[in-house]
Amino acid sequence: MIRFIEADGTPHPVEAAVGQSLKQAALDHLVPGIIGDCGGCASCGTCHAYIDDKHLPLLAPADENEEMILEGIPTPRTANSRLTCQIPVTADMAGMEVHIPDTQF
């Protein structure tokens, strides 16, 4: 179970399938605020979200391309900023909180 949380605090608990991307899990559960226009090829940056501190260390770090996309996103970029299309869901993500920014472009 992953908890997507909208910028206004609305929670969306989602049963995500292991192996799918966090972005697709959000899309398949109609979570608002994750757009994912490029389909997950790390071109658009519209799947940006903040990963909670507890689970962040579990993730493989962003590659150079993801870093560059994140540089120009409209919402504040923090150490927790990630492109959700670049994160495959794993079993140890149970309980992870993913905070969605108030805008994607």
Binding site: L30, I35, C38, C41, S43, M68, I69, G72, P74
Partner: protein, 413 residues
Amino acid sequence: MKTVVIVGAGQAGSELAVALRQNGFSDRIRLVGAEPHLPYQRPPLSKAFLHGKADQVALRTRAPDAFTNAGIEIELDTAAVGIDRRTRSVALADGRTLRYDKLALTTGGSPRPLRFGSGHVAGRTLHTLDDAIALRQELQSGGTLLIVGGGFIGLETAAAAADMGIAVTLVEAQPRVLARTSPPAVSAFVEREHRNHGVDLRTGVSVRSVARRDGALHAQLSDDTVIRADLILTGVGIAANDTLAATAQLAVDDGVLVDATARTEDPDIVAAGDCTRQWHGFLGRSVRLESVQNATDQARTAARTLCGKPTERFTAPWFWSDQYDHKLQMAGLPQTGDTEIVRGDPSTNSFSVVYLRNGIITGLHAVNQPRDFTAARQLVTARAAMTGDEAACEDLPLSELMKRHQPTAERRT
């Protein structure tokens, strides 16, 4: 109970259905699509899918469950053939009619067919999943491919085919590829990369006629050379699917005419995506845009309009293309007369072209420069002022310039 009928189960139709639910619409949603497939994304068709690097599941806009759980009723393999605005009903090809309270048109576009000379040999097109499945199969069995049209679809297909070891010839009638959409520096880069990958790329020539002989196609070009190919693919643009709207007496002009809130002249009918010609809130002019971003963003706008929360669309358009391992991204919609400033050195395979008009950034084309692209999207939307020197200065990150500008009030997801 109210019913919204959405005609066209593609990128925009799928997003519109979902956005209705996200905006609190709790009554009936019926999504009608002519294709036999659940809503899917087209961009990978000429990229990862053609290559075999992405499968059909990866193309889906949403999982099948997503629609079922949201109570979105989907009818596939079902074309709408008429709209009766008086009785508020849509006629389907199978003889049924669907009543609607609100109607959305998301019918997309169709590739412009190209027939060559008296032989009437038609080129194939790549627009649907079925087109891509067939093309992939044929490419896997080898042979030679002639591509007519140096736009994004032609070039992406050339890249995928060349990577698969297919001998590819690409002809473009204009003096350079991407002439309609991109600056000369980007065209030059793209042409060079295709030639480096073995594509026989010819600009300034067109196909005069094609004859079928000895089990192959022989294309005679305007410069009198003859190209032998097993397969011809044309990528010469699409026409908006606006006939349904036109026969229902809605205003069309190379696209269903809609305002900046995605409304047609009938208050009960909205339209979104490739099938529309819209008055664009940000650009302040009428445009027909063919991109995923436009389709999904306009679909969300249309959903809000149907839910009685109309908001004007106010985002700068953007687009991307992948060819080989290069990423092309563009933001804004520059017009002729805008100044083009090259940022970085094209020979390093990583550079951008910034467009300025009266000291304001109107667009940017990035080649392997995602950093410039995402920053430019914000700067273009903010109508940021910038000098030519700033635009050209690679050492000054565009994201630095962003700090000078307040975000626009109209931003939203």
